[in-house]
């Protein structure tokens, strides 16, 4: 059997996985916004020429979540007459940093190679990856089907309905796929001691 530790690419990816795990741990334990901002700067520097694209993708991804949480926190702080800025800064920086680290890690590292030391983890990653690909394709089809069926620009309500139908479909498919995957793994002796 090949030794997965002998492959320099695998070694590099495994070190990156370890660094990623430590970075995520640090980002959740550090409570000083200056350190978090520093971490974000380092992450963007590591992204090199792709820093702009990475930051833009991170902002687009976290904006709805961060905006909703920040607004809720602002209202709470206003009712309690507490200054909210320190907490808001901390919260938003932490989410930005964690998302940026994750996007950069996924872009740079071959996860299959990084987890090659464990048969179980590779199996689980394979299952998650195949489901993610299926759902990405389905998500695109839901979006395109609405465009295709709409002689006029679809309204907000139509978009909500498509999102709800898609979410329900994903849930149903995810449950069915998880059940089937578990059966397949059981059949192949994955759960045997």
């Amino acid at each position: 059997m090949n030794n997965p530790f002998a492959d320099p690419g695998a070694r590099r990816d495994r070190l990156a996985l370890l660094a990623y795990a430590l970075a995520v741990l640090a980002a959740t334990l550090v409570h000083d916004p200056r350190w978090l901002a520093g971490g974000l700067t380092v992450t963007l520097l590591l992204a090199g020429s792709g820093a702009g694209g990475l930051l833009s993708r991170v902002l687009r991804t976290v904006l709805p979540f961060n905006l909703a949480v920040s607004m809720g926190y602002l209202m709470l702080a206003w009712l309690r007459t507490e200054p909210p800025w320190q907490t808001l800064l901390l919260l938003n920086l932490r989410v930005l940093l964690l998302t940026a680290i994750t996007f950069l890690f996924v872009r740079r590292v071959n996860l299959f190679r990084a987890l090659g030391f464990s048969r179980s983890l590779t199996y689980l990653l394979g299952l998650a990856y195949s489901q993610a690909l299926t759902f990405r394709r389905a998500h695109e089809d839901f979006r395109l089907a609405l465009v295709s069926r709409s002689p006029r620009r679809p309204g907000l309500m139509d978009r909500y309905r498509v999102s709800a139908a898609a979410a329900s479909w994903y849930l149903e498919k995810a449950l069915a796929a998880a059940r089937e995957s578990a059966q397949a793994l059981r059949s192949r002796g994955f759960f045997d001691a």
């Binding site: 089809d141 395109l144 295709s148 898609a166």
Partner: protein, 257 residues
């Protein structure tokens, strides 16, 4: 009516379509054949102006069709009212609270006064009239397919693009679909990898090869009788057979569904 010129498409580094050129005249029934992964669905989405090809052009009645060109509201309204695409996964097309709303969606968008009446007519024509008040999500695969078809036909399109319409159907419903499509007067392009169904769906075949180029543009029967091309398209294979006590190997095709 529909003209594709030098259409190529890539997903990242992967070539999906390579320099596809063909035209379809009004009223033609065309079958688009190809093994899995040869780009049939992508080709229909490009022809429906949903995906911009990496290279080449699509024209419908002389007008350029692409996501960019269809940002023009008048052109989009004109094209979407005339050309309809049935997705391979019918669930992707269903999002309204009832079957009636689902079928009436297009006509209501166009502001047609008789939207509901049209929806009832097409639901009855497709045999889903008894489900009008039900949510479409709980229907069987075949019924969902019929609701989707009704939702497209309600706009009385000139061009119908069907992506594997028989994939979710049982044999009886497949027979019904073949008869139904034969009775339609509009232009139809249907994808399938079920070779036995191909001659029922059209006289002309467009075949995508494994190199993602157009391998054949001509008669269906001519293609089905051409062993070299069937092999090149990966639509024919060889393996051992048993006929009673005799075992031998020969080339043949399978019905895949």
């Amino acid at each position: 009516m529909l003209e594709l010129t030098g259409v190529s498409h890539r997903y990242g580094a992967a070539m999906v379509l390579k320099e596809i050129s063909f035209g379809v005249e009004a009223g033609e029934k065309v079958v688009l054949l190809g093994a899995n992964g040869t780009g049939k669905s992508t080709l229909l989405k490009i022809a429906n102006g949903l995906i911009a090809p990496s290279a080449g052009q699509v024209r419908y009645r002389g007008e350029a069709i692409s996501p960019g060109a269809l940002r023009n509201a008048a052109r989009n309204r004109r094209f979407r009212g005339r050309a309809a695409l049935l997705f391979q996964n019918p669930d992707a097309m269903l999002f309204n609270p009832t079957v009636l709303d689902e079928i009436a969606f297009g006509p209501r968008q166009l502001g047609l006064a008789d939207a509901e009446e049209r929806a009832r007519h097409w639901a009855a024509a497709l045999g889903v009239g008894r489900h009008l008040d039900r949510p479409p999500f709980g229907l069987s695969g075949g019924e969902k397919q019929k609701v989707c078809l009704a939702a497209l036909l309600v706009l009385e399109p000139e061009l119908l693009l069907l992506d594997e319409p028989a994939a979710a159907l049982d044999p009886r419903s497949t027979g019904w679909l073949v008869d139904f499509l034969a009775g339609l007067r509009c232009t139809v392009i249907t994808t399938t990898h079920n070779l036995s169904l191909a001659p029922e769906l059209g006289r002309r075949a467009l075949v995508l090869g494994e190199d993602h180029g157009l391998l054949h543009d001509g008669g269906v029967e001519a293609f089905l009788g051409d062993r070299e091309r069937l092999l090149a398209a990966n639509l024919m294979h060889i393996h051992r057979h048993r006929h009673g006590l005799v075992e031998h190997r020969h080339f043949h095709v399978h019905d895949w569904d």
